[in-house]
Structures are given as C-alpha cells and as structure tokens.
Subunit: 429 residues, 2 copies
Amino acid sequence: MTNIEPLKELLRIPSVSTVHQGIEECAEKVKEFLEEAGFETQIIETKGHPVVFGEKKGKTDKTLMFYDHYDVQPPDPLDEWESPPFEPEVRNNRLYARGVADNKGNLMARLEAVKSFDELPVTIKFVVEGEEEMGSPHLEGFVNDNKDLLKADGCIWEAGYKDVAGRPTMFLGAKGLCYVEFRVKGANRDLHSASAVIVESPVWRLVRALTSLKDENERILIEGFYDDVNPPDKEELDLVDTIPYNGDLTKKILGIDKFLLDISDKEAVSRILYASSCNICGIHAGYTGKGSKTVLPCKAMAKVDFRLVPDQDPEKVFNLLKAHLKKHGYSDIEVESMGPLWPAKTSFKERFVTVVKESMDAVYDKEAVVYPTMSGSGPMWLFTNVLNIPTVSIGVGDAESRAHSPNESINLTDYEEGTQVIKELINRF
Amino acid sequence: MTNIEPLKELLRIPSVSTVHQGIEECAEKVKEFLEEAGFETQIIETKGHPVVFGEKKGKTDKTLMFYDHYDVQPPDPLDEWESPPFEPEVRNNRLYARGVADNKGNLMARLEAVKSFDELPVTIKFVVEGEEEMGSPHLEGFVNDNKDLLKADGCIWEAGYKDVAGRPTMFLGAKGLCYVEFRVKGANRDLHSASAVIVESPVWRLVRALTSLKDENERILIEGFYDDVNPPDKEELDLVDTIPYNGDLTKKILGIDKFLLDISDKEAVSRILYASSCNICGIHAGYTGKGSKTVLPCKAMAKVDFRLVPDQDPEKVFNLLKAHLKKHGYSDIEVESMGPLWPAKTSFKERFVTVVKESMDAVYDKEAVVYPTMSGSGPMWLFTNVLNIPTVSIGVGDAESRAHSPNESINLTDYEEGTQVIKELINRF
C-alpha cells in the first residue's frame, strides 16, 4: 500500500489561497517532499504566491511534466463538515480533508510513483502553483518568464475523477473563466425601508442587472458573447457519442429531480463539454439574520462566473459585459474582473493521449473514458496554447469526492491505483 | 432642563427584539420608571414579549393614552457606529444611541412631562410593547384581550421627526406591512460552479422570482395587488398640497443625486404618503467573502417588505404573492410571512388632531405640519380600527435621527421641547 502519511501531513496545512492562509508553509512542505525524492527544487517567487518547481533527470531528456497546485478552496460552510477540514480522517476506506481530491491527493500520488523508481527512464518536472483556486492570476507571468525551464513533451494536469459508474476519465481540455464581482451603491447609509418609495435600491438594481444577463433558457444575453465560439467537428462529436453517462445516478447523488431545463443525458454531456455558462457564485445585501429588519440597504454585491469554450476570450467577454451594463442603464454598477482563464484543448489524436490511456487501461478494470474537454477551468491554456505541450488531466478522485464542497474526500483504493497509473506512464512514455 | 439620566439608563439596555435580547430587563426598567412616577403598573404577558401597562388617574376620567415600545432595531452594521450603540453619548447637543429616536426618547419625554404634574387634569395610560421592531406579532392578541383596559379618548403614537427644514410634524396614519422571507433550495450541497451548465441554480431562481414582482417603474406586478387601494379624497389632497418639502435637502442628506424614477418633490410627497412598495431588505447566497470562489450555491434567501396603503390587507397580499409565485413557476420557493400590519388613518378633521396641533404650535417656533398618514408602518390600526381611538404620531426626532441606521440620535433641545408639548397637551386635552 502507498504510504498516506506524507499526504496527511500536506492536508493539515490550511493553504486557502483566496485568504492567503498557510501559503508559505505549504510551499515549503512541497519543496521538502520533492527534495527528499531527489528533485532539484526551487521556490520561484511571482507577484502572488510562489510556484514550487522540481526537476529530476532520467535516462533520456524526454520530459514528462506534472502540473499541480498546493492551494485549496475555502472550507466554508464549516458546520457542514463531519470532521474538521484540515484534520484528515479515514472513514470507510475514504480519506476526508479539504483539498484531498483537488488537488493534494494527485500531487502526492504522482510523487509516490516517481519515488518508486531507482532510476527514472525519463526526466520528470513538477510545477506546483499556489493560486489555482483563485484563478491562477500570476501563472501567466511565471510561464512567460520561464519558458526554457518549462519545456516538456507531455503534461499530466492536476485532477481527475471516476464517473458515477466508477469508470476512470481523461480530460483533454478545460473551459475558460471570466470571474466578475459586481458592486452597487445607493444612499450614503442603510435607510428605514419606508424610504424605498423615493430612494432607489441598489439591491433591486443588482437583481435587475443580473436578470438582464441571461434568459430563462440559459441563453446569455450579452451582445457578442457567442461570436467567437468554435464548435467541435464531427469526428470529435462522434467521440463524445461514445461517452457513457448515467444521468439518473448523477441526479440522485446531487439530490435533484431533473437537470437544468429538463435536458436529456445526451444534452447534459454536450452542455458539460461545450456550453458556456453564467453562474451566480454569491450575492449579498442588507439584513439576512434572524427575524425581520425593515431596511433599505445602501449597497449590494454579487460574484458571477462565466465559463467559456474555445475560442471565447475572457478579457473580451469582460469588455462585452461592461458594454452590456452600459447599454442597459447600469453604468453605475462597478465590475471587477478576477483572474481570467482562456479555454484550452489538446487534440484526442495526439500520441501522448494514447499513451496515457494505455497506462490507465493497464491498471483499472474499467476502460478509461476520453473527454475532449472538461466542465471546469484552469490555467491549462498556458501549457497547451503558450508552451505547446500536449496536456491530459487525470486523477484519483471519484463521483463522491465533493471538490469545493464540505466533506471533500478520495477513495484510498483510487489513490493506490492512481499511483500505479503514473508508474505505468513513466515506463511507457 | 429635562433630566436625561433615566433615558440614558434605558438606552444602555440592548433590547433588540428580533434576537430576543435584553427584553425582560428593559420591560422591568420601564415598569420601575412608571411606578416611580405614581402609575399603577402591570407587566402583561403575551405569546411573545410582555407589554408594560401603566395608568395614573387624573381629575377626570377623560383619558390620554401613550403608545410606545421598549424594543429597538438590531444595531448592525456595528463598525459604522462612531460610539457604541448601547453606550449613550452626547456630542454637539445630540444624544447618540440605538433606539434614542425610535422610540425610547419619546417614551421618556412623555414620562418626564407627566412627572411634572402634581395633580393630573386627565387620566394617563401608557402602553409600552416589546415587539414593534419585529412587526408587533402579538399586540393584536393583547389588544383583543384587554379592550376595557385600553379605553381612551386620544392616543399619542410612538414617534415623530422634524423635517429637513426643522418643522415639527404630525402623522395621522401609518402604512401596512407584509414582510416575507423567501427561501429557495437547489442541489443537496454547494457544488463546483462547473456544474452550473446542468444543475439549476437556486440563486438564479430567487433573482428571477424577485424580478417578476415589480417592473422598472416600481409598479408591483402581483395580480390583484392594487385592487383594494382606497385613494385619498380631494379635501385630503388639498391638505397634502400645503405640506412643505425640500427635496434637494433630503437628497443631500441621503447622498443621492435624484429620487427614485427621477420624481419631483410633489410626487415624492405623494409616494411617501400613498405609494405601496416592494423592497428587498436583504438577500444572501453562496460565497460573498474576499476574492473568488467558484461555487454553485445550494440555497438562497431574501427578505422582502411590502408597504401597504388603505385598504390593502397584508394577509390578502401574502396570498396573492403565493398565487403569483405559483403562476410564474416558482411554487417550489418557500415563503414565510412575518408580523403582518394593516394600514391605519385618523381623519384630519378630528378634534383631537386640532388639540395636538395647538399644543405643538404653543411650543415650537415653526408651525406643525400635518401629514394625513406616514411612510412607516406599525400596529396603529389596532388603536384606530379595533379600539377606535383617534391617534396622532409626534415625537422628538429630526431629519438627522437615522432611525434603523448606525449613529441614531436626537437633538437634546428637541427632547426638551417634546416634553413641553406633552405638558401642553395634558393641560389642553
């Protein structure tokens, strides 16, 4: 069995990037683990949190890279955790802790695999950043400044999850992301709500502005939003048709009766891979405590994320959003863009994709399912579009892993097998 | 000068009814003050917070009643207070504390006035409740159970404010209130926001449901909402035409460039007195902290108040709202009604109104302005409609009093003069 103690040690560090918690400590710990495994290691400063870089030479210069991140999502709501988020606990062969699936478990499974080689057949590089959960705002600068250091022939991306039927998955792309905070101001202070007959409410303005962004069929109403969408070709859609998907089981796990818009399983897969979205991550204004308070709030805010598909550009989308707000009379609404991410995609015809699949199929009892892209986002475009490295995302999570949610966990058997897959890949690469 | 020490003592008790804080202590303190002033006093239990009742016989049975409340609004946002809300502080001849304007300052000014009489010419009754800031949910039961005890020939209502030009005001009515909490549920947990392409968002449902309630011209779109509105007659509108109103000064104080819908001063007065409203007191969902968190929240909530005018019925409005939500496909949204209040109005032709005005004009250097009703709400309808007592609201606040907001205060000269007015009224009644 793979030793899980180093992983537990890493999970105990509450490296919540969005509140700048435990960052230096966690970066140092990753560096220490890499050095113990014989890597030449550097902590490379950025304008934000540092990147840990490690390189270990193999028999050839052919280079396999691992992209991971040592930061995690905030653990709240805390009261919904069955065990404390930063005190890893094993229950029923699952390891529970914030970040265990996304992405510390993957980082450590990869490192354990590398450690099992007395002599590496290929060169291995680790790039472990500390701002992925904030939208990787400084990784672009890091990549542009270190292009030589970052040369590689294939890259294994941060995370992956078995599907609801227990099939391992491979993801060959990621959506882009345009994350925006909206802020609206009203009077110079909260007022008695009797004033609402003569004083405009920033809450109503925010609610109406949000409503103007999307219709009831999920069509985003920002002018020009869909202009750059580059839909998949027939060959890719044929591959998508082979993806098995158990919608009923997904719905059961999520506790919902039907999918959004009551779509079929096939449409769900299509939307997961190819639909842009506009989601409200958070909204707040006024009094939200117990009982009633009759107040006209003086400010309101919301956080909204747009997921983007090839070839949408998050900076262009942000500008289109500003134009939309202006056009609809909401130019007083302040919008701030946070960490834009571009969509990324590696062709399923790449040899690297085939090798990764063979490595997985050698370990798992179920055949790996190839997804031409994924529903989530990340800085993968820096590796595919800027560094030109074929990139595939796989990992040790499953359909119960609850990434970004309370009670995040992985199955320890998946951790063991995920380590084996990386060993196979290093040998076959 | 009127002694302000008893008032400060009362203000130090944080009697925030909506969180059931300091209630018994404050009721006991009011009882103690009334007893010290020679009142026969009882603490009358209700299904909620108790009512303090006091009666002091005068030379005649003619009875003047004071309605007040010993509870206050929550003090938050706490960080916006210049001095702690429950540590009364005098700065520039103003007394600052939560509840000083709404309504402990009025209660104590009235009591100080009564105390100045060796022998009262009329009988005085005090009704001091502890749930006004929660919408007085149990006062109706109290009034129905104690109709004999509550007989009176005129009632002075809880609060009043000088206008922006420093003119004292009299309010002869109050709006009704239908306060509703909305709760929407989605998946069984918060999800990674990548799922937003296939899982319906309770936040979007809430935002859309709210948007469906009102159009951009402030017209409430709930079917039947306006059916029972009984508009004022010509004589009353002529009275309203005499009300002076300095819109520019109001806007300056509130820090706004223009009124809602860019209305004129005259329209503002009309809306203050006669417009129903639908206001979002608070809204919350998901992550609203620093930075970005990409989450699809599993629940969303909002608190909404509808202000109502004669003869709208808050229970009927709540039922119409439920029908509206059902009709628009939002029957899954849970709505809870909190403390309905009916609209109330005393005719400006009543003799009691004239006597109150004469008492005010005898004290203040500016003539009192008569408002046929007020923008705020309260349980006044129990006194006007159920007990049939002519009721007028006056008080010691001014345009800077910031009731319900941080840094609530009164001018100490207004406190002094407010006490004089009550003395005049007791003599003239």
